[in-house]
Each structure stands twice: as structure tokens, then as C-alpha cells.
């Protein structure tokens, strides 16, 4: 039965379009006097965060609460137990509490997959970011934001749109999930990074790659800047921060080469001055704040479609 959201690659085009069109209806809720719907009354959503993340946790929490679900926040930060054991014990605890969905963020790639397929819990598992692997709801909110700015009226209609994803692709779960989802939606993705920050096996991704930012961005319809994840780096991936910024950062000069309609995105948190300068981040092209707003609507859509009915309407087979 389809009941988890583990990878953006598990979503068919129909699934993705259903999530995006549902999110479009739910986004209207922000303009109503009572920003709440009764769909998940009596359901329990557990936010299980093994890694720090303020924005993603708050976004999921707001989404679940607006659908009237009960929310339990479970921060397992600093746990020194070995991964398999701690995850299993935590899972059994959640099961005993009667969780209907577990939103899991973990430093180890594949942890949500393990949780979903172990048989430890009966609840739906939503991957809120695992290691350097995937972050499917971020990809959905990015696609939603692009669709609102660039797409046709049809949900997710990004056919032929050119998307540049720039920066630390190696450590980015956002890049992988976006590449998979945007490919499903018909967009053409180009990853731009220094050779040291391109993952091994990139040839198998449904994307083009480039080492030269200046030739890629004038053709792009959306430019997504990625944070340089220094906390995941041991050793030198580039000589200096200044050289990185000069070759792969988005500044006012590069922004001037973009097409008029091109939007600038960033999944956050930004390091101003590193991958993006303050004047770009605060410019009228920047949709970075809107991405946050859209994140709540998209996560509401995912929770509703997984938990709202007798059985989920989207998701992977596992």
C-alpha cells in the first residue's frame, strides 16, 4: 500500500500534480479568518528530528496543526546510541503512542526508509531530510513556487522550463530531490558546481551538469542557490570561501545577466556573502520568503493526502 513519502523519485507525475493542486487550494486558507480545517482531527503527527532544523520542523508543525492534527515534537538531538538501535527503540515508543504519521529528519541517509520498511511502526513515514540523500517536501515546495511563477495554469506544468541548481550539490539532499521531481514534471535541470562538489554517479541523474555558472544562468527560468554545507565537509573542497563566492556565488553582476522573468530561489538557511549576496537575496527576483509560505501549504497537502482518507492517495509503494 502507498503510505509513505520517502523519495521525490517515488512520485508519479499524477501524484505530484495532485499534491501541487491540493497545495494550491490549501494556500488560500492563509487569507481566511479561521486558518484551520478539520480534516485530520484526532490524528497524531510526530515530528521526529534527529538533526537540527527549525524551519522544517515549524513548517510541518504548522501544517499539521492547520489540519487539526495533534502534534508531538520529538527532538532526539545528541543521542549517542548507535543508529539502528536508537531508531528502533524510538520507533517502538512512537508506535506505543499511537502515531498516525512520523515526520522524520535524520543525519543518516536511508533512515526514513529503514523506519518505513522495518515493520516497527504502522504509521505513515514522511522523509523530512535524511543525510545527503533526499528532502522530498522541499522539492515539492520548490516545484510549487516555480509553478506559481513560471508554470501554466495546469498544476506542475513546468514542461521545458530550465532550472539551474547551483552550489554544494554533493552534500545537498535538496538537489537530488529537486532533480528527480523536476524531471518528473518535465523541467530541464542543470546542476552547476565545482568538480569537487559534484556527487559520484551524477551521470545516472536525469540532469545536465556544468562547472561554469556564467554560461548557464542567462538561459535559466529559475536559479536555485544551495548552501555550502561546511558542517558536512571534512577537508578542502575549494581553496577559499572567497574563491568559491567569486566562481559560484550569485551576486548583483551575475543577476543582471538573468532573463526578466527568472526567479532566484534558496532552500534556506542562507549564508549571505557566500553563495548569495544580500542585494540578490533581497531583490524583487528573490522568492525565498515565499518558499517558506508555500512550504506550509505543500506539507498540508502531503499530510492530508497521506492521512486524510481511509488510505493514502499518493506516495511510494514501499
Amino acid at each position: 500500500m502507498k503510505r509513505h513519502l520517502l523519495s521525490a523519485g517515488d512520485l508519479t507525475r499524477d501524484d505530484a500534480e495532485l499534491i501541487l493542486s491540493t497545495a494550491a487550494e490549501l494556500r488560500e486558507l492563509a487569507d481566511r479568518p479561521i486558518k484551520k480545517l478539520p480534516a485530520l482531527r484526532g490524528r497524531t503527527v510526530v515530528n521526529l528530528f534527529f538533526e537540527d532544523s527549525t524551519r522544517t520542523r515549524i513548517s510541518f508543525e504548522a501544517a499539521a496543526k492547520r489540519l487539526s492534527a495533534d502534534v508531538i515534537n520529538f527532538a532526539a538531538k545528541g543521542s549517542s546510541l548507535s543508529k539502528g538501535e536508537s531508531l528502533k527503540d524510538t520507533a517502538l515508543t512512537l508506535e506505543a503512542m499511537g502515531a498516525d504519521a512520523v515526520v522524520v529528519r535524520h543525519g543518516a541517509s536511508g533512515a526514513p526508509h529503514l523506519l518505513a520498511n522495518s515493520g516497527w511502526v504502522r504509521s505513515s513515514v514522511v522523509n523530512a531530510g535524511d543525510g545527503t540523500h533526499e528532502h522530498p517536501t522541499q522539492a515539492l515546495l520548490d516545484a510549487f513556487t516555480m509553478w506559481r511563477h513560471l508554470g501554466e495554469s495546469k498544476p506542475g506544468g513546468l514542461e521545458g522550463r530550465r532550472i539551474a541548481i547551483v552550489g554544494d550539490v554533493l552534500h545537498s539532499r535538496v538537489a537530488r530531490s529537486n532533480a528527480l521531481l523536476l524531471n518528473t514534471l518535465g523541467a530541464e535541470v542543470t546542476l552547476v558546481a565545482p568538480p569537487t562538489l559534484m556527487p559520484v554517479g551524477i551521470e545516472s541523474w536525469p540532469v545536465q551538469t556544468s562547472y561554469d555558472l556564467d554560461t548557464v544562468i542567462p538561459k535559466a527560468d529559475a536559479v536555485m542557490m544551495l548552501r555550502v554545507q561546511r558542517e558536512r565537509m571534512q577537508g578542502g573542497f575549494f581553496p577559499t570561501a572567497r574563491e568559491y563566492s567569486r566562481r559560484y556565488g550569485l551576486d548583483g553582476r551575475r543577476m543582471a545577466t538573468l532573463q526578466d522573468h527568472t526567479i532566484v530561489m534558496h532552500p534556506g538557511p542562507m549564508v549571505r556573502g557566500m553563495e548569495i549576496t544580500a542585494d540578490v537575496a533581497d531583490s524583487s527576483r528573490s522568492v525565498i520568503v515565499e518558499q517558506v509560505t508555500n512550504g506550509v501549504a505543500v506539507r498540508m497537502a502531503v499530510l492530508y493526502l497521506l492521512l486524510g482518507g481511509s488510505e493514502p492517495a499518493v506516495g511510494g509503494e514501499e
Binding site: 481566511r32 478539520p38 486524510g308 482518507g309 481511509s310 493514502p312
Partner: protein, 176 residues
């Protein structure tokens, strides 16, 4: 077929006049169609009211999916548009418009949904077809056609613009 295009047109014209008569004019009226077929019906009623009174009644749509009492008995369903008129519904007379009134459960859900959106002065219900078999204490104020049916029958409303043509059809007793 029990109603053809001309029957539907006549029924909607009569409903429009009844709404105006009951409301003593078009002031403060808001028409909210329940998707999907209720919305084009609400728009047609608004057109007729405009041609009679010369006043554009605000029209919107109200999706009740998340308020349904059978939400958890079926796979999660796609949401339909909720579009509220700019003036809102507070203090107005809201006329809910739907195609078929049957168990009354959709209307109950609509009343709950309205509760989260504002406080109308009054809520009325207009339906194209009332086929009976109510399961809740709900009735329509304006009815296009009372259509006695048996529970095994299905009533289908098609509307030009959404479907091929205007028609109300009963699909008969299913062979056992």
C-alpha cells in the same frame, strides 16, 4: 432523461425569481456554489438575477471535501476550489447552490464549512433536483424539480460548459 436543457433553463429562471422574492431584492445576497456542478448553476442564477434586477450578485464556490463525514471512509480526495467573493459573507444572505439534494450530508458539511468562513445573516439552499431520501433534518428553500427516486437509482446532472449538454438523467434499477 427527466429534464432537458429547456426544462433546466425554466427551473433556474423560476428559482432566480423565488430567491429575489424571498429576499425582497438582490441586496446583500451571495451565491455560493458547491463544486463541481453547483458552481455553474450559481453563475447561471446570478446571470438571471442580473438581467432582472440589474445587480451583480457576488458568486463564489465552497468546497466541502474536508468537512465530509465520510472523509475517512474513502481514499483522500482531491480538493475543489473554494473562492469567496471579495466582500465576504459576514452579514449577508448566503444561498448555497447544488445540483442534487439527496442524503443532506453534503449540505451539513457545507454549513460546517461556512461556520469557519464567517457569519452570514441567513443561509438558504437552492438545488436543481431534490431526489428525497434525506438522512439529516435538512430541506431546500428553492427546488428546481422534485424527483421521487428509488435508492438503487442514480441521478446525473450534466451542464453545458462543464459537460456536453444540459440534462438531468435517471439511471435505472441496476440488473441484479
Amino acid at each position: 432523461m427527466v429534464l432537458d436543457a429547456r426544462d433546466i433553463t425554466r427551473a433556474l429562471t423560476r428559482i432566480s425569481h423565488e430567491i429575489l422574492e424571498r429576499n425582497k431584492g438582490a441586496d446583500d445576497l451571495v451565491l455560493l456554489g458547491i463544486p463541481s456542478r453547483g458552481v455553474p448553476l450559481a453563475e447561471r442564477i446570478a446571470e438571471r438575477i442580473a438581467s432582472v434586477e440589474g445587480y451583480d450578485v457576488p458568486v463564489g464556490s465552497l468546497d466541502v471535501t474536508m468537512y465530509r463525514d465520510d472523509l475517512r471512509m474513502k481514499p483522500a480526495r482531491a480538493l475543489l476550489p473554494t473562492k469567496l467573493p471579495p466582500g465576504g459573507i459576514d452579514g449577508r444572505t448566503v444561498v448555497l447552490v447544488d445540483d442534487v439534494l439527496f442524503s443532506g450530508r453534503t449540505i451539513r458539511a457545507a454549513l460546517d464549512a461556512l461556520n469557519d468562513i464567517g457569519r452570514p445573516r441567513a443561509v438558504r439552499l437552492a438545488v436543481l433536483v431534490d431526489r428525497g431520501h434525506r438522512e439529516l433534518p435538512i430541506r431546500a428553500d428553492f427546488v428546481g424539480k422534485n424527483l421521487p427516486t428509488s435508492l438503487v437509482e442514480r441521478v446525473k446532472v450534466t451542464l453545458a460548459g462543464v459537460d456536453d449538454a444540459d440534462a438531468v438523467t435517471i439511471f435505472g434499477e441496476v440488473a441484479s
